[in-house]
Amino acid sequence: MDLGFLPAGLEPYDVLVIGGGPAGATAALYTARAGLRTLVVDKGLTAGALGTTAKIVNYPGVPGPLSGAELVRRIRDQAVSFGAEFVTDKVLRVDLRGDPKQVWGGEGVYPAQAVVIATGAMGRTRRIPGEERLLGRGVSYCATCDGPFFQGQEVAVVGNNDEAVEEALTLTRFASRVHFLSPTADLRASPELGEALAAHPQVTLYPTARVREVVGQERVEGVRISHQGEERTIPVGGVFVYLQGNIPVTDFLDDQLPVGQGGCLLVDDSFQTVIPGVFAVGDVLCRHLKQAVVAAADGVVAAMAVDRYLSGRKKLRPDWSR
């Protein structure tokens, strides 16, 4: 039995970066290289916008087409080589005004002196018809939470990234069959995960499936899709949705920071938010050009500002220095 996940006893990190795309991973690369204890909490290699971009050609210095996930992996490796730590976890909640600041993930709580928000803009606004009405009645966003309710039933997973694939594999432990509905022809997941999914005897793959509606009266009874030019309804008891959109991901902040139109974050010239020690970089910002190199540049400037913030604090609170 797993009795982990305790909110106590962890030494605060100097810097905690939420999101490991080009902006977050570059910030971590710089803070780690500056000798700051750095942790990046991220949902997985292909969770971000760049991770799901098949090929990029305009990242300077990388002339050949390179997959977005590969570029992100290279920046992460670089950050790790300077001592940054990465954990795969979903951030659920934060306390940005505390001392230390706290970030709660599914796997634990992470205290830190400074926080860099680099969660990107892959949030969704549009829902599938029926999704909201049947939420908690068969529609779910968490296979580990709700998988046990679908013991022996057929379920559908909608999505194409690492998270969707991992959750689908989790569901095979409970469901008799997992219908995997990918909006794209190819998965945007890491190859190992994609292969595991394709090889799984309980999984049926539907590339380029468009989900039209989640159907059911009191509870989910099926999912209506158009696939290969035909409309059809697959009878399922559960629908697990992992689609992505293009709005800034700030829901976990729970109104602790003011947001601009569309939920984007506002920062000053050094990428600091209105809360001292809390920074934001990359696509989560307002009026941001969604380019990897611009996001990476943000990460550098923010990392240097984090460094200044932390050394300023040490100056004011000499009892902290060890």
Binding site: M1, D2, L3, G4, F5, L6, P7, A8, G9, K90, L92, R93, G105, G106, E107, L135, G136, R137, G138, V139, S140, C142, T144, C145, D146, G147, P148, F149, F150, E218, R219, V220, G238, D254
Partner: protein
Amino acid sequence: MPMLDDNVREQVVDFLKDLAGPVRLMMFTQEFECEYCAETRQLVEEIGELSELVSVEVYDFLADGEKAEQLGVDKIPAIAVIGAEDYGVRFYGIPSGYEFTSLLHAIRTVAAGKPELSEAGVQALAEVTEPIHIQVFVTPTCPYCPQSVTLAHQMAIASPHVRADMVEAMEFPHLAVRYQVMGVPRTVINETVHLEGAAPEPMVLEKLQEALAGTEG
């Protein structure tokens, strides 16, 4: 074999070291037809060893039926977390996995007798005069669930009219069916009003009002 390893014990000791007052963990069990009673008992007994202010009392659900009725315990395994008074904080099913955190939080805030809620929340709950029963359905593998459980327990501490249960859905399948639980956390208030997901405090307060309005009407 102990359930809590050294690392976890150390963290529990640290978490419980500044308890504001004594806490009784009243655990209800029986020897048969209860899948996780033995483990739940062992778990609370091990926690009891880690703080001088936490005492553990074990009761038999049938033999001590009167005690169970007095505390409103109607299924097992059950843990009533009692401080200076009984705030109505309950756990049904084993608080394992992510719910272990909820139990520790409950111990700490029951010891203090003071809810960790916003001023507005405390105010709203002080005005409650009708009985409210909050049931939060969880699975041990749900990272979002402790937030809902802890919030419900804080509300119980804030008002003598509110009681709040964690209910582990897998151990009580008949309740999962009765309350149509197909996703967790699912919060059921006074049998009628329900809420999906780890909702923030204001949203849960709104639902409480809705449940109260339903009672009056």
